[in-house]
């Protein structure tokens, strides 16, 4: 049981392989279009043609794997009209399906795309930190699956002590809005929050 369950993503190691996405989809049997973890590709830079026909460029790119940050001040919880979206005593933000009305208001507001609407169910679903695995003492499916060991999980304080307190990187939003329990290791291409240097270039995949 964590006070503040948190994820760590090392963007210098994340290669955008999407294994975490598939591992999560397999474990939770997610229906089509429901993605509890999403890997975004952030790309920027320009090409400059020279008179001699060659090119110079400053292209950069990196990937970011985000599930849910089980925020301290989650916008989804304060927006939810039915209290279905709630932060449990174990710090995990999850949906009570006996109350969820499927209005998708949480989805409108969450700047990490964590709440995912399940059309068949008519309700919202989301990363639950693999609560059942937590009870067994094993890692969330995504963390265990990552081939490059770019993901970690645990108590926020411990992760912050181990990896630092950076909790934002472009294109993530200002962490002051929801206070995400997220620890990020920046890669050499990392762009700061609010940067317009690049853009998300794989919207069709997330």
């Amino acid at each position: 049981m964590y006070k503040r369950p948190a994820f760590h993503i090392d963007t210098s190691r994340c290669t955008g392989c999407k294994t975490c996405m598939i591992a999560c989809m397999d474990k939770h049997d997610l229906p089509e279009g429901v993605l509890w973890r999403r890997v975004t590709e952030y790309v920027g830079g320009e090409w400059a043609a020279r008179p001699d026909g060659t090119y110079t460029q400053n292209i950069f790119g990196y990937y970011l794997s985000i599930g849910c940050n089980h925020c301290q001040n989650p916008i989804c919880v304060r927006s939810c009209p039915t209290t279905a979206m709630h932060k449990g005593k174990d710090g995990i933000v999850s949906v009570d399906h006996t109350k969820c009305v499927g209005c998708r208001y949480c989805e409108w507001g969450c700047p990490y795309s964590a709440p995912q609407y399940d059309a068949k169910l008519g309700k919202m679903t989301k990363c639950d930190f693999c609560r059942d695995y937590q009870q067994e003492g094993t890692a969330p499916a995504c963390v265990a699956a990552c081939p490059n060991r770019a993901l970690d999980y645990g108590e926020y304080e411990e992760l912050a002590a181990k990896y630092g307190e950076v909790n934002v990187i472009a294109p993530l939003p200002d962490p002051g809005i929801t206070q995400p329990n997220l620890v990020i290791t920046l890669g050499k291409n990392a762009k700061p929050a609010g940067s317009k240097a690049g853009k998300v270039s794989n919207p069709e995949e997330v």
Binding site: C17, T19, D26, G61
Partner: protein
């Protein structure tokens, strides 16, 4: 790609039992007389409570080999995990499957799984089949095989290239010559051999001329001991994706050492994204870059003259073989003192490669100054019309700087890796000695009897005597999907007067399977026991023992049993089986493996519950060719001179005797050769864009190409630079028509600055979906690739293409 047909209810009972219905889907595009295909239900994901967990593997041609853990309940796989045996020590770390292995459940239960043996009705290639019994299938196939052998001889029988299950031992599908099918044919008089592979045609056939063998290299883990690592067309992060393999090895090496990593590639690959610099290069021009850098190294005296003198021949005029005219040394070639009178200056290289001159100069100086330097190449650079030259040229960077045989150094080849040898299923001997290149089978079907050694790369004889009349295709979707020029290949295959019999054994109705005369359902690897040799890894030696997780689907049979059935009908069952069932062979091979690896447990059952045996490879990593470097006289290479043959007399002779088409050359030196549909082809006025087909994470070649989850997280898209896209009014998500004289493909675009202007990439392996007009809607790059082979290896030049693209 989206499914075209609406869902259809699955049958009840047999496979699904108590599982909740989660998914139903029908096959697209198949009309069949008696053979109806029902959808399968994906079981609800759940750990096995009253079930079991089994160690198994993913056996595809990805270059890695991962451990999987299947949770099975009521005869159905309900969840897939990977290696969970503990990750605390690098060198004994977890062999974590990539996204494809993790999606195994949705591949095992994909809706187009084959159930019964089938026989073609209608014309070949229409994909219309009727269900038949195994008896009938084996009877008729054997009869046709007998007739082919009687009419044409064993040379007319060919086992085509199929790598779908190459990770196995008893059900191994590649090397072709190691398969149960090869063993069968070897009991029946033999079959026409192949040399080379679609992955490595050019490099594998060229290297022995320069190095006496397929050149090895230091492992990626040695990057921890180097100053500078330069990757030519090498993308391990996307082509070696296992957590027990190269991508993780690269991460470890980066972390442990201080190397600066430079990636040279037309695309900003995922490897480039974690490297320190990306140098975009026009496809097919790596040898020009190398030549330009060689010019700098030579003229600025940064070459290792001692190494070149002791260990190589052909670098300068003094070391040329007897009888070779002056001006044919590498130095002369580079400095413009050779026949072409063209100094390979950085400016000359810049115009060809698209790389700025100052960058070529600075990179050359950096390579020259880094001691040691890790140079490696992938297989992209060599899969070109000039690939034999290119692959040798890249190694010159390591030869000129004398990095061969050094810790943290390199040879310029593909990275080396650890290996733990296991017992091989004995395939006997092929009485037939003739061989053709892996890429020549369509020629051999069309005009086999005319193919010669000097013109068409026939080996083992001066010419072939007969065309290919009977073709086996096991666990492969290469014949139509991965071979070049799908439309022309389709025409050749459809002519039943040419190829008389095509037998396909597969799990799914692939585009290639649609051309079968007999289509047999093979077992999936999770449906049988096997011994699984390791995949590529720098520091980890391992072997996996994969246990059968679920029963074979409907009437699926293992390749061993299928071959036994054929052997019976030829009366050679005794020779083929040696009295053993498949299971008995497994136990025998396990015992043989124990002799090589004594620490293995006594029984195969214990091995199955162990799942995997791991051993650490030596640290620091073994340095290949160290003995040769230290003492080339005592430890010669297997070349005629015993040294690195920068100038190869054998190639000189071949270049002067072989009959090559206009424009093709085979040179003794690793020269840059411009090619048809290369950067300087005048055809660019009609088809201005170069097209490559990179290896994409959605699939392993075409395996996994029918898995819905993977198509969602990594959809098939054509990569195009914003400059080229804007000129054509193409925006993200638009459907484009990409075409040349060979065919047309419709595919959505990914507009991204991660690819060079002037270059497109259509990831290879997407399943061929031709419409009534023969235009493809699956995004299959091989509709656009050419059947013209590369000069020396007669190999597949699948990245050498010119196309145009328009918005639809």
């Amino acid at each position: 790609m989206s499914k075209k047909n609406p869902p259809e209810t699955a049958p009840g009972g047999e496979i699904t039992r108590r599982c909740v219905l989660k998914w139903v889907a029908a096959l697209g595009g198949l009309a069949a007389g008696g053979g109806l295909f029902y959808g399968l239900n994906y079981a609800v994901s759940a750990p096995a409570k009253d079930g079991k967990t089994i160690w198994t593997s993913c056996n595809v041609n990805c270059g890695s080999r991962c451990l999987l853990r299947a949770h099975v309940a009521d005869g159905v796989v309900t969840r897939i995990d990977s290696d969970t045996q503990g990750d605390s020590e690098y060198g004994l770390h977890e062999i974590r499957a990539c996204l494809r292995g993790r999606s195994m459940r949705h591949r095992l239960y994909a809706p187009d799984r084959l159930k019964y043996p089938m026989k073609r009705v209608g014309a070949r290639g229409e994909g219309k089949f009727e269900r038949i019994s195994w008896e009938q299938a084996l009877d008729e196939i054997s009869a046709r095989l007998k007739k082919t052998i009687a009419d044409y001889g064993n040379d007319a029988v060919y086992i085509n290239y199929g790598t779908g299950n190459l990770g196995a031992t008893l059900s191994i599908s590649w090397p072709t010559g190691n398969t149960p099918l090869a063993r069968l044919m070897n009991c029946l008089g033999g079959y026409l051999n192949m040399y080379g592979t679609y992955s490595t045609s050019q490099i594998s056939q060229a290297m022995p001329f320069m190095y006496g063998e397929y050149l090895g290299n230091n492992a990626l883990s040695d990057i921890a001991n180097t100053k500078l690592a330069v990757f030519f067309g090498n993308n391990p992060v996307e082509t070696r994706m296992s957590g027990g393999g190269m991508t993780y090895d690269l991460m470890q090496a980066k972390q442990k050492g201080n190397a600066r990593i430079v990636v040279i590639d037309p695309r900003y690959t995922d490897t480039a994204a974690v490297a320190d610099e990306w140098i975009p290069i026009r496809p097919g021009t790596d040898a020009a870059l190398v030549s330009g850098m060689a010019y700098v190294l030579i003229s600025e005296n940064m070459v290792d003259t001692d190494f070149l003198k002791r260990c190589t021949v052909g670098y300068d005029e003094d070391s040329l073989p007897e009888g070779i005219p002056a001006g044919n040394s590498y130095k002369a070639y580079i400095l413009g003192q050779g026949e072409d009178k063209t100094p390979k200056t950085p400016r000359w290289a810049s115009a060809i490669t698209g790389i700025p001159e100052d960058k070529i100069i600075s990179l050359a100086r950096e390579i020259g100054g880094a001691k040691p330097c890790y140079i490696c190449q992938g297989w992209a650079s060599q899969r070109h019309a000039n690939g034999e030259q290119t692959s040798r040229a890249i190694t010159m960077m390591a030869m000129l700087t004398g990095n061969m045989g050094l810790q943290g150094g390199s040879t310029g080849a593909r990275e080396g890796c650890a290996n733990l040898p296991v017992a091989v299923f004995p395939f006997l001997t092929n009485p037939v000695k003739k061989a053709i290149s892996v890429f020549s089978w369509t020629e051999a079907i069309k005009r086999g009897a005319e193919m010669t050694a000097l013109r068409d790369g026939v080996r083992g004889a001066d010419k072939l005597d007969v065309p290919i009349k009977f073709m086996w295709n096991y666990a492969g979707n290469a014949i139509i999907n991965q071979h070049s020029d799908a439309n022309e290949t389709s025409r050749i295959l459809k002519d039943e007067s040419l190829l008389e019999t095509l037998v396909v054994i597969d799990n799914f109705l692939t585009p290639s399977a649609k051309f079968a005369d007999y289509l047999l359902p093979g077992t999936f690897n999770l449906e049988e026991d096997d011994i699984i040799p390791q995949g590529s890894s720098s520091q980890l030696e391992y072997v996996i023992f994969a246990q059968k997780a679920v029963e074979p689907f409907f009437e699926s049979r293992s390749i061993y049993d299928i071959c036994t059935g054929i052997a019976e009908r030829f009366g050679v069952q005794g020779k083929y089986t040696e009295g053993r069932t498949r299971d008995a062979w497994l136990r025998k091979l396990y015992d043989d493996t124990r002799k090589k690896i004594p620490e293995l447990p006594a029984t195969v059952e214990e091995a199955f519950s162990m799942g995997v045996l791991k051993r650490k490879a030596p640290q620091p990593p073994v340095v290949p060719y160290k003995a040769f470097r230290d003492n080339p006289e005592a430890n010669p290479l297997k070349t005629p001179t015993g040294k690195v043959e920068i100038f190869s007399k054998k190639l000189w002779d071949i270049g002067h005797t072989w009959e090559l088409p206009e424009g093709d050359r085979i040179t003794a030196l690793p020269e840059y050769l411009p090619t048809w549909e290369g950067v300087s082809d005048p055809l660019r006025s009609k088809y201005p864009l170069q097209l490559i087909g990179h290896h994409y994470k959605q699939r392993t070649h075409s395996t996994y190409g029918n898995v819905d989850w993977l198509k969602k997280v990594a959809p098939q898209e054509l990569w195009i630079n914003p400059v080229d896209a804007e000129k054509r009014g193409l925006k993200a998500g638009d459907t484009a028509k990409v075409f040349n004289d060979r065919g047309t493909v419709f595919v959505p675009v990914k507009v991204t600055p991660r690819i060079m202007p002037g270059v497109l990439s259509l990831p290879q392996g997407a399943w061929y979906e031709p419409d009534a007009k023969g235009q493809d809607h699956g995004g299959c790059v091989n509709v656009l690739t050419s059947l013209r082979p590369s000069p020396l290896s007669k190999g597949n030049p699948q990245h050498t293409n010119l196309v145009e693209v328009v918005k639809v």
